[in-house]
């Protein structure tokens, strides 16, 4: 798609110095704020040579953190996809009392600081919390264990899929689904053959954003995980821990792994974005 008007075509010739200056400034700011720190992470991680880097990455605690982070993402993203789709479908296709409220509730995690989410879960499931004694009686461990980490991550990532899918579903309307209905398709066939193909790229996009967030979440997880080395430490927590241990190379090695994960996710996101536009 080409814009009808070439950007800058309306600007007078003599202002070109000014526009070059502004562009240069933007590039400089981007470099200082984003690019240089990113490169610095890898540079510091590899400062003492690849051997030390590998040794730090292969440290059992760091490896466990990588695995735990991946596990959390693998659990939360599918749950997000299912619940996010269901919510988007409900809000886009039906009018019912409380529809606006539901939308607000789904978007709430965007505006609430993750650490507050963590504290809420702490107060709810903690030993002195509302459900704490009941859980303790049933011998169910939620806080300082995988379930707690998964729950807060779900809280933090809840809006992503719905936010991406809902506007598309609203814009497309339900005419295609009604057409499929009159042609004799069952509910599941309509979903699989008509609804899903129409929103598939928005869905992938939402899932990618949700996984990026799930992998990188620090605040909420740090409250509920208890940061037990080799047990409940996710990668972002492990980085902080290594940093506090003054193991700079270790911290940067772990950070580079996390950065790599984030870059891969963003790469997928960019590819998906290209697909969405060409559709």
């Amino acid at each position: 798609m080409k814009p009808a008007v070439v950007p800058g075509a309306l600007a007078p010739r003599e202002k070109q110095t000014a526009s070059r200056l502004l562009i240069g400034l933007a590039v400089a700011v981007t470099a200082v704020i984003i690019v240089v720190p990113l490169i610095y992470i890898f540079w510091r991680a590899l400062a003492d040579g690849f051997g030390v880097f590998a040794q730090n990455i292969l440290d059992p605690n760091t490896l466990h953190a990588v695995w735990l982070t991946a596990l959390v993402a693998l659990i939360t993203v599918p749950v997000n996809i299912v619940i996010g789709l269901a919510a988007a479908w409900l809000i886009a296709r039906f009018t019912f009392p409380g529809r606006k409220l539901l939308l607000t509730v789904i978007e709430l995690p965007f505006s609430i600081s993750p650490i507050i989410a963590g504290v809420c879960y702490l107060l709810l499931y903690g030993r002195q919390g509302l459900l704490g004694p009941m859980l303790a009686d049933a011998d169910i461990q939620i806080l300082f264990a995988l379930p707690g980490i998964v729950l807060v991550t779900l809280f933090v990532t809840a809006p992503f899929v719905t936010r991406e899918v809902l506007p598309l579903m609203q814009a497309q309307g339900s005419e295609q689904e009604q057409a499929a209905l009159t042609l004799g398709a069952s509910g599941f066939q309509i979903f699989r053959l008509v609804t899903l193909p129409n929103i598939r790229w928005a869905l992938v996009y939402g899932a990618v954003l949700a996984s990026a967030r799930a992998i990188g979440e620090f605040g909420a997880v740090s409250v509920v995980s208890g940061s037990i080395r080799g047990q409940t430490n996710t990668l972002p927590l492990q980085i902080e821990l290594l940093f506090n241990d003054l193991n700079i190379v270790g911290a940067f090695a772990a950070a580079s792994t996390l950065t790599l994960l984030a870059l891969v996710t963003m790469l997928i996101k960019t590819l998906v974005e290209g697909r969405t536009k060409s559709d």
Binding site: E175, Q178, A179, L181, L183, G184, S186
Partner: protein, 369 residues
């Protein structure tokens, strides 16, 4: 009787969209639901399709109660206003959809589905489009594909919502003739919704004129054109000149008008309203008449003539240009009505001014998305 509706009522909140619809459709008929936007015609179509349910009333097809059946069980072919083609499927896959989603026990074999689709593609004259995607088709082509998809399931009734609404004038006329020929050779009972009077009259066997959730008139196009049953239908069909008259012994009388050409009507003595098409009014030179011509303008084939009386009455007439060369502004004329429709009592006070005539176009514009 193939499709029978009685007393169908539908409310959306406080708004009564349908207020007791009674309609019978014979097998193989082509019916137009004609009306301005908000008349309830699309709601009625959706109720027949099984996409909406009435609050009261009955709907049956060949004796079966359709209100107990889902849209899928009714086997209707629905063509949506914006076609609702599946964008990720080719034309061939779109048309095959209704067959591929059948339960395994009823589903024809792959070769048989391909054969049915090919036959439809040929029948609808779109074979060359078979492997394209909807985004690569023009509006008229999409319309044909949408009809093909609906016809693939061999529907008992074909329903079309504003089938030509989103197309430009030339394509619209072509597709209209094409649809008529498709209907005539396939013989499927067909109901379509339109706000365009010309479209309804050219295409349909019978036209159902709707307004405000009720049926104003049902009839053959000529019947409705010649004898509009209500003031609404009269205005909707372009009888835009509304003249207060007095009934005397079955004849209408109005000062300055010659109404003797109109047939006698068994209406009570007293005030009534005469509805006329501007084309059915002939100005005749008459020095003693109260009307004089104030404006004459040409549209090429027609002369548009405005006559005003001393009492402030303003009448617009249309005369074929070749018959009107004797007319000049300022001359006194009497007005001779060739045809018209009389309704007892005084209809709403809509003066027959040019403004009123212009705000009542023959086809009410409707712009829904």
């Amino acid at each position: 009787m193939s499709l029978a509706m009685s007393n169908i009522t539908r409310r959306f909140g406080q708004t009564e969209v349908l207020r007791g619809i009674d309609l019978d459709v014979a097998k193989g008929e082509l019916i137009a639901l004609l009306g301005p936007s908000g008349s309830g015609k699309t709601t009625l179509l959706r109720i027949i399709a099984g996409l909406d349910w009435p609050d009261a009333g009955n709907l049956s097809f060949e004796g079966q109660d359709w209100l107990l059946k889902t849209a899928a069980q009714r086997k209707i072919g629905m063509v949506f206003q914006h076609y609702a083609l599946f964008p990720h499927m080719t034309v061939r896959e779109n048309i095959a959809f209704g067959l591929t989603v059948l339960p395994r026990a009823q589903r024809p074999g792959k070769a048989q589905i391909a054969e049915t689709v090919q036959r439809l593609l040929t029948f609808l004259q779109i074979s060359q489009l078979a492997d394209r995607y909807p985004s690569e088709l023009s509006g008229g082509q999409r319309q044909r594909v949408a009809l093909g998809r609906a016809m693939a399931i061999e529907p008992r009734v074909l329903l079309l919502d504003e089938p030509f609404g989103a197309l430009d004038a030339q394509v619209r006329r072509d597709l209209r003739r094409w649809l008529r020929s498709v209907h005539d050779s396939a013989g499927i009972t067909t109901i379509f919704v339109t706000h365009d009077q010309e479209e309804a009259f050219e295409l349909a066997d019978r036209v159902v004129v709707m307004n405000g959730g009720v049926i104003e008139q049902i009839g053959r196009p000529d019947q409705i054109y010649d004898h509009p049953a209500t003031p609404f239908v009269a205005r909707f069909l372009g009888l835009t000149v509304e003249l207060p008259v007095v009934m005397k012994a079955g004849r209408a009388e109005a000062a300055g008008f010659d109404l003797t050409a109109l047939p006698r009507r068994a209406l009570p003595e007293g005030p009534a309203t005469l509805f006329l098409r501007p084309a059915d009014i002939q100005p005749v030179a008459d020095p003693a008449a109260p009307f004089h011509l104030t404006e004459i303008s040409s549209t090429g084939a027609l002369l548009r003539v405005v006559a005003e009386s001393d009492s402030g009455c303003r009448i617009e007439a249309e005369v074929p240009r070749r018959d009107g060369h004797g007319l000049e502004t300022g001359m006194n004329v009497s007005l001779c009505a060739v045809a018209g429709q009389i309704f007892p009592g005084l209809a709403s006070q809509r003066a027959s001014s040019p403004v009123a005539a212009e705000t009542t176009p023959h086809a009410l514009k409707e712009n829904r998305l």
